[in-house]
Symmetry: C2
Subunit: 499 residues, 2 copies
């Protein structure tokens, strides 16, 4: 067979995998948004079936044949080379685990997730503990199959954020931790009092939805290639680049929750909508990593969405729509959406303390995977770190170690992406300000197109053809450095808290 024909055939094969990914996605989205209660169990069966079908394609002899055929082919162009490498990585991730262990893991995950739900409801870590131990054991076992160099945890990090290692993260997160804690101390001794009670007046679901759509449209989310629906927890899901959906949850007595989650998911969505058509059939047509994805969602949500310039533009519209804000000045509004308040729950935390929640999980995961921390000590370790870094302690398991579902699904190595997103974002901002010095004026005038274009040019258009380390280097000229985020935070809160 001619090489060209083989390459076309390979891409057709990958297109099938992309189709199955979309199908899985539609079935999942529909389950979250639409499936009536009695239909949930049948839908679960079909999702499990689809996941097996996809796994078969990903790990088939055919796939191995394609990879072996092309892996040393120097005549491939840049994009096709990356495609082959990416397939190889995925193939090894999937095929190095013995089939029976993989099956056992899938079953264990399903049970563990159910146990976590129950434990959270009953507010009792003991219910979840044996399942969490199993998840940790599986991850430890899998790392051995996959292999590792310096640190076992590197192997897991690499799944979600290629190129990131414990060695790098220890430095980055240590600087970040110190930077945040210093700033937090200053804020605590500030006499500035922020009153944010206005956000807890009653805001109808309809009015929140309309305003969220208004903002999303302005910042560049394309409703002709997407839609906004309501689910229990917000998420973004893409079925290719022309159908990228976001969800949120409306709380009538919380103006901020849905709006900022919409802007957050909108950032993810804009990234996926910008992926070029040319990447279809390569598996590279999606955001490159969890961390870079979070950099986009957090850029939109926080750097942009919680900036004074953003609200100089949007606040007049907000006042027009919401009489609840009568008598609230722009300055009060701005301070209200940036109030710092140490809290026990990651997803409710403010822009400053958020990363501390992540660093706690990082330190625990690293120790767990390396066998330096065991299941019996994990709850104590959790509570101790919250006391040490945030000076608060959970009064029960649900607001402590049971708050996040990630571990119940066996996802270790995922959490750091959230904090990395903050760091990447601030580093992009630093460079953006150099290249577009009047950027805040543009925002004030509602010119979000200039930002969208910039992010597309520097990040989105590459899809997964570049790794995060390559993206950050190319976009900002240097490696990831936590300095930019710490500087950004200091500058921001200096004004807000007059410190």
């Amino acid at each position: 067979m001619k090489k060209n024909t083989k390459l076309i055939e390979f891409k057709e094969y990958l297109t099938k995998i992309e189709y199955l990914t979309t199908i899985e996605g539609v079935l999942y989205w529909d389950m979250r948004v639409n499936v009536p209660s009695k239909g949930v169990s049948d839908r679960g069966d079909i999702l499990a079936y689809m996941s097996v079908e996809k796994y078969k394609l990903q790990t088939s002899d055919k796939m191995k044949e394609y990879i072996d055929y092309f892996i040393n082919d120097d005549s491939l162009d840049f994009q096709d080379k990356k495609m082959v490498l990416n397939c190889k990585k995925e193939y090894e991730l999937n095929s190095k685990i013995p089939e029976d262990r993989n099956k056992a893991y899938a079953l264990a995950v399903a049970k563990s997730e159910t146990a976590w739900e129950k434990a959270k409801q009953e507010n009792d870590f003991e219910v979840f503990k044996p399942y969490l131990k199993e998840m940790i054991d599986f991850n430890r076992e899998f790392v051995n199959y996959w292999g590792y160099k310096d640190n076992k945890y590197d192997t897991l990090l690499n799944i979600y954020e290629p190129g990131i290692t414990v060695d790098k993260l220890d430095t980055i997160f240590n600087d970040l931790k110190n930077g945040i804690i210093d700033l937090l101390d200053k804020i605590k001794s500030s006499s500035e009092v922020i009153n944010s009670s206005v956000f807890n007046k009653k805001f109808s679901k309809e009015s929140q939805e309309e305003f969220s759509k208004f903002v999303l449209e302005k910042i560049g989310y394309d409703f002709e290639a997407g839609r906004l629906d309501e689910t229990e927890h917000p998420f973004t899901i893409e079925f290719g680049n022309r159908d990228v959906r976001i969800t949120t949850h409306y709380y009538q007595e919380d103006f901020k929750s849905a709006l900022f989650s919409c802007i957050h998911e909108g950032g993810h969505g804009i990234y996926e909508q910008d992926i070029p058509d040319g990447l279809k059939g390569t598996l590279l047509g999606k955001g490159t990593s969890m961390g870079i994805h979070e950099s986009q969602s957090r850029f939109y949500e926080n750097i942009l969405g919680r900036s004074l310039s953003f609200w100089k533009y949007f606040y007049p519209e907000a006042i027009k729509r919401f009489p609840q804000f009568e008598g609230v000045s722009l300055d009060e509004f701005y301070k209200g959406i940036n109030e710092v308040k140490t809290s026990l729950i990651r997803t409710e935390s403010d822009e400053l303390t958020y990363s501390l929640h992540i660093i706690i999980r990082y330190e625990l995961e690293k120790a767990l995977i390396n066998g330096e921390l065991e299941i019996d000590d994990i709850k104590d370790a959790w509570n101790k770190k919250y006391k040490e870094y945030l000076n608060i302690e959970p009064s029960n398991d649900s607001e402590g170690i049971l708050q996040d579902m990630h571990w119940s699904g066996g996802s270790f190595g995922y959490f750091p992406s959230y904090a990395l997103g903050n760091l990447y974002g601030a580093q992009f901002l630093y460079k953006m300000k150099k290249e577009i010095p009047n950027i805040y004026d543009e925002i004030e005038n509602g010119n979000f197109e200039i930002i969208h274009k910039y992010l597309n040019e520097k990040i989105h258009k590459y899809g997964s053809t570049l790794d995060p380390v390559e993206i950050i280097k190319l976009a900002t000229g240097e490696e990831l450095n936590s300095k930019y985020f710490i500087d950004y935070l200091n500058e921001k809160y200096k004004d807000i808290y007059k410190i």
Copy 2:
């Protein structure tokens, strides 16, 4: 391999086909309800892919092997025997067509549907004519592959309504036609004037939706195993028996359209929700034919939903919700929803004249498939029959021969099911009134459970284990007879039009 193991394996195979059917269904429903404009083309690609995957399973050597293994096995129980027969029928339908002709047909259908849309918009049959000719040619060709006994059109009828033949339909439809035309003449000379302008006041979408849901819930549609959404055209789609969705379209200045389409689709939905779990994995877990399905939807929409008893129960609630009905008596309301008005458009026609629209299509299709009518004469033939039976003539193609999309998709033999639904329904009613003499009192008191239970017991619970001829025989003790529907119509309109 032991026979039992083989049977289990066979059912696992059929379960896969059921999964693919559900997946296709979810992708289709989502396209109609949710997909943003830019995503439509990608979704089309994936639907085409899924259809091929399903076709492969339906026509595989494996399928043939199972059928051959079990087809003469007398030890199978009743249900499993029917399962094998059903698979054989489907297998032959699919596999008797040469693969290249099947592909050519799929491509031609896609083009033809697009051409029909364009032709309808431009109000020009000439645009659609060559494509319609192709659809007719394909159907003529396929009938030859499939084979036929007495009449070529029987083969197509049999796809949608097993057991129904031209021989039977000619008699049934002839009686029906005469019965309707007689009654129509009487109504035309009645001096009774019905004023239905109140239904064209303004009714908000929200209030229509809420009332439709209220009615649906009362009559037995289970929202925990279903949902109601809005689409351009109403339809019902089932993903197993625990997720059966219906759709409607709201018109602000038409109270009747959405409400009665909801009750209609609700009838389809209740049928599918009642299918027993035990039929999973047999391909028999769905309504048995188009005609029986229509009998249920039309029973709920017309026999029940347009009866005086029904509105004795619901009208007080309607008045409470809709001040638009102030001053309109129950009697006026009842007459308004039963106004007879010959119209050009099938989907807008009343309960009486509806079947005439179907008989016209039946007569044309029969002649087309048997080569007694050719494409150049079809438009004239259409218009002539409308003049003859309904005494009206289309002033343009869109309200004439272009009004329905069925032919553009190559569906010949489907239309008769609609009228058969009316006939089955009235025959069920006749028997139901014998068995539950006070049935209208029950309806008046809102006891819809008694009807739901009856229809479940006589029809729904069998899924596709019984053919329509078996269902009607078992439920009513005799073969299909148009007399019951004609009697029902006469009795109903006698009161309304005082004739």
